[in-house]
Amino acid sequence: MSTEIFESAADAILKGDSDKAVETAKKGLGEGLDPVMLINEGFIPGINKVGDMFGSGKLFLPELILAAAAMQNATDIINEAIPEGEGQSRGRFLIGTVEGDVHDIGKTIVVSLMKANGFEVMDLGRDVSTDRFIEAADKFNADIIGTSALLTTTMEGQRRLEVELKKAGLKERFKTMVGGAPVTQRWAKRIGADAFAENASEAVKLAKALLETA
Amino acid sequence: MGMHIAHIMASCMGGIRTSGDLVAWMQMTRKMRIHEAKAYVAEKLGVGIIDLTDEEIMRDIRKNLGIGTVTSIAGGPKGIRAKCKIADLLGINIRSVSLFKSQMGFPG
């Protein structure tokens, strides 16, 4: 029976069907399934598949948004069933496009997938100054600061953030993740960022890994 | 910049050094694939396809036809004057040439 529910959960996410996702979550809990298992073996594989399909052009942004919303609705119900202190919030993720850069399409996709995977997300938008990143991360109590840059000239904003975090003695408090078309693993290493994500699905995997090792 | 030059050295026909501009015109004005465009230009010039990128052969052809040479020959046609001849040679419409001719009152 649990297999059937897991499949139904994944299918609901894949179809972006919020009603079905909620119904499946309630049904699973009603049948006594472990809430954590219900998320990890039912809904998460569904949203992972959505990410993979988006990454290969088999599914598009509106469907991804619907899937993310269905995921959010289902996990809200399941989280209520998880005893205090054992909730499934993956962590707090702050994101923005660096100063001087007004590109935000890629960032939008990252935001959706992060939310769908249980992260609390604060999106600062585009053209965000280094000071604003740090100030907002402090207030939001972020676990990870993600920065996006689409130009070789604005990538410097990612380096500036690392420098300013170190100066302020905050580098150990926040993990940093960089992305954007011209950004590479080597760039991340050179500036001292904790991770580089090639795409939105990768960003989710890396964010999870960063917080597991934190 | 270096990247463009590297591509030109590795795989480009060579522009007005050879016959790259002529073959490009055929792709642009007749949607010809590369082999068809080369065959068309080779036939118009009376040379083999392999000769189209041979500087030693194309230099003389371009000079004799007055269609522009890469080194600057004093008084040799270049620019719009060379393009007028290229349009006639290839039997194509080059839009800048048509405009120029109409402005000068030349027949189209």
């Binding site: 052009g57 598009f60 942004l61 509106p62 619907l66 007004v102 935000d104 399409i105 939008t108 935001v111 938008g125 070789t152 078309a181 011209p182 590479t184 693993q185 080597r186 090639e198 | 910049m1 990247m3 463009h4 590297a6 591509h7 030109i8 050295m9 590795a10 795989s11 480009c12 026909m13 060579g14 522009g15 007005i16 790259g20 501009d21 490009a24 015109w25 792709q27 642009m28 004005t29 949607k31 010809m32 694939r33 465009a37 396809i49 392999i50 990128t53 269609i67 890469v70 270049k78 620019g79 719009i80 393009k83 290229i86 419409n93 839009r95 800048s96 040439v97 048509s98 405009l99 120029f100």
Partner: protein, 355 residues
């Protein structure tokens, strides 16, 4: 196993791989492309030829005499005088001097002019300046001389443009509103593309390049297709090159169609067909370079996509070989060893009609 073949990663880093590792990357690269796009993998013989190109010990490789193709450019003349943003070398040349230097010193098959912003929208208010520069330069050039820029739908969304910002509406779940905003923006974009193309056509435009079409998604791609078709109706003899921006059209809208073909998710072999249907004369394809994979993997993948596109097309197919595209490493100064290997492989194995 010896590690004696020097190659690159997708971010340009030099690495040494064994012959076995390179062959394995070539195999997995072509398999990835084939699986994604639903096209055939490179044959064993083609993979072996690709291996030979990649493992050639020479620093620079090239096609054989007689195999050369046409190289069109994406604002290359700007690289003479622009700065880092345009991968420029900052030589103090005028636009005309740069174009003529590219034609005559570099032996370029075609040259081009473009606005520094490299988008069409900002050209609109300065169209007379552009038309004047284009006309004056076209009197001096001998090789085909394009005007080129990117459609760039993003400039039509607030705060840069008049339409509600789809990238903000989508995450709020306002899907219908986001789609409407994209449709409205696409209407503005198509109109501007036609306006700029028509005005330049009046001064003898030899060729128009819609470079990197679809960078803001399927509605962006649709607007470019519509503009091509409209320009071909208005100015039938205007040659148009329309290039794509990625290996599949990003579905930011998801439902827009062109002549009955859904554009979202369209891979190169489908992209060239709609470009052809719109009436363009040359189709450009662009394959993303993965920075964490090797040159053999990226190039094998690019060749597989390009070969499929070339096989499907009736018009010339040019592969985009700028930084971070079609196997070219993603870095500001792509290494020449990689650049020439990409060049050779896309022509010999990808059957590109041009680059």
């Amino acid at each position: 196993m010896s590690n004696d073949i020097v190659t690159r990663m997708g971010d340009g880093e030099r690495v040494q791989l064994s012959a076995g590792e390179i062959r394995e990357d070539i195999q997995t690269g072509t398999a990835d492309a084939a699986q994604r796009a639903g096209v055939p993998e490179l044959t064993a013989q083609e993979q072996e030829r690709l291996f030979d190109i990649i493992s050639d010990p020479s620093r620079i490789v090239s096609v054989n005499p007689g195999e050369e193709v046409i190289v069109t450019d994406d604002g290359c003349s700007m690289s003479f005088y622009s700065g880092q943003d345009g991968a420029g070398v900052g030589v103090p040349l005028s636009r005309m001097q740069a174009v003529l230097t590219y034609e005559r010193a570099c032996g370029a098959d075609t040259t081009s002019l473009g606005h520094s912003d490299y988008s069409y929208k900002p050209v609109k208010p300065i169209i007379n300046f552009e038309a004047n520069d284009y006309y004056n330069t076209s009197m001096m050039t001998t090789a085909p001389f394009f005007y080129g820029a990117q459609p760039n739908l993003g400039l039509y969304f607030q705060p840069d443009g008049p339409c509600p910002n789809a990238a903000e509406l989508m995450p709020m779940g306002k899907i219908d509103e986001a789609r409407r905003a994209q449709e409205e923006a696409a209407g503005h974009l198509a109109k501007d593309l036609v306006f700029v193309g028509s005005r330049l056509a009046d001064v003898g435009l030899e060729g128009l390049n819609f470079d990197t079409s679809g960078s803001a998604g399927d509605a962006d791609f649709m607007a470019a297709l519509q503009a091509v078709a409209e320009l071909k109706r208005k100015v039938p003899d205007l040659p148009i090159l329309m290039g794509a921006s990625g290996e599949f059209v990003l579905g930011m809208h998801g439902e827009v169609e062109y002549e009955g073909t859904r554009l979202a998710g369209l891979y190169p072999q489908g992209q060239v067909k709609v470009i052809e249907t719109a009436g363009a004369d040359i189709a450009g394809v662009a394959i993303n370079t993965a920075t964490t994979e090797s040159l053999p993997w990226n190039l094998s993948r690019a060749v597989t996509f390009v070969k499929a596109a070339s096989g499907a097309s009736n018009i010339p197919v040019h592969a985009n070989v700028g930084m971070g595209v079609c196997g070219i490493p993603m870095m500001e100064q792509p290494p020449i060893d990689s650049v020439t290997r990409v060049s050779k492989a896309l022509v010999q194995l990808g059957k590109a009609d041009g680059l």
